[in-house]
């Protein structure tokens, strides 16, 4: 949260509105692991605090786009004494290679980790060729 956000929050707080200081509208870059597997590419993205219906995966013009919104409500009657993570929006994009079959993309979200499987087009898959004498 930058100092402008903080200042605005303080002003809103003074005005009597309830504001949770951990929530911000800034878009964060989530951490990701990317692997090539036999049939495609596997992308795993850390999205802590994101519920099933708060994440969106879009493939458009050769770009994989991940949009999500995390939620973690402040416990009632408590003050924030230490903050090491921020709760807000996540956004990340990956450019996809020609070999990806964009129609077959699958995604699932479990305990705050989004797993996306991007299958390779059949022509792009490795094939073992038998060697004959």
């Amino acid at each position: 949260m930058n100092k402008i956000d903080k200042k605005e929050n303080q002003e809103v707080k003074k005005a009597g509105a309830e504001v949770s200081p951990v929530v911000t509208d800034a878009a964060f870059v989530p951490y990701a692991d990317v692997d090539e597997v036999a049939d495609g590419v596997r992308v795993r993205v850390d999205l802590p605090g994101v519920a099933d219906d708060a994440a969106e995966v879009v493939v458009e013009n050769g770009v994989l786009r991940i949009e999500a919104r995390a939620a973690c409500e402040a416990p009632a009657g408590h003050d924030l004494a230490g903050q090491e993570f921020w709760v807000g929006r996540y956004h990340r994009e990956f450019a996809l290679g020609e070999g990806i079959d964009t129609d077959g993309v699958k995604a699932k979200l479990k305990t705050g980790v989004l797993e996306i499987l991007l299958p390779k087009r059949t022509a792009a898959r490795a094939r073992k060729v038998a060697i004959t004498n």
């Binding site: 930058n2 100092k3 951990v22 800034a26 878009a27 964060f28 870059v29 989530p30 951490y31 990701a32 692991d33 990317v34 692997d35 090539e36 597997v37 036999a38 049939d39 590419v41 596997r42 795993r44 850390d46 999205l47 802590p48 605090g49 994101v50 519920a51 995390a70 939620a71 973690c72 402040a74 416990p75 009657g77 408590h78 003050d79 924030l80 004494a81 230490g82 903050q83 090491e84 993570f85 921020w86 709760v87 807000g88 996540y90 479990k110 305990t111 705050g112 980790v113 490795a126």
Partner: protein
């Protein structure tokens, strides 16, 4: 961002310096060169948000990919420890690794509480990869308001 002063020099502000420093540290420690901001700029894992009140303490801990059964929470006097393991979960048929940014493996963090906790009262919930641990302050250790008598 610094602004151009009227003599063409950049005006200097300690906050800009601190912002720049924080961003540099974020890049070095956690972001692995990511363009943009990350939600946990510090290096400690798992990152925690700590909430306090006169009734006790609430800890929010980011643990994406970790099942509740794989987290150990222990309370001993005024110390609380949270440990466990983020599964590595390598694809068995992996051909190549393109990118490794997520934290995996064992983790352990402990925190000193401002009161002696009773382990029985500690509650934990796990939702969408965020663990919330509530540690109530025992009744005898709650702050008491003392009325000032008129002299």
């Amino acid at each position: 961002m610094t602004e151009q002063g009227k003599w063409g020099r950049e005006t200097w502000s300690v906050f800009d310096e601190l912002d720049a420093l924080q961003k540099d540290f974020g890049r070095m420690l956690g972001a692995a060169g990511l363009a943009g901001r990350v939600s946990r700029p510090g290096g400690a894992f798992p990152p925690m948000n700590v909430w306090t009140s006169s009734d006790g303490i609430v800890l929010d801990v980011e643990l994406p990919g970790v099942e509740a059964k794989d987290v150990d929470i222990t309370v001993h006097g005024d110390e609380i420890a949270i440990s466990g393991r983020v599964p590595v979960d390598e694809a068995p048929e992996a051909v190549a690794v393109y990118r490794r940014e997520r934290w995996t493996g064992d983790f352990s963090r402990s925190l000193r509480l401002p009161f002696n906790a009773e382990a029985d009262g500690v509650k934990a919930t796990h939702r969408n990869g965020i663990l919330r641990v509530s540690v109530p302050r025992p009744e005898a250790q709650k702050p008491k308001r003392i009325a000032i008598e008129a002299a």
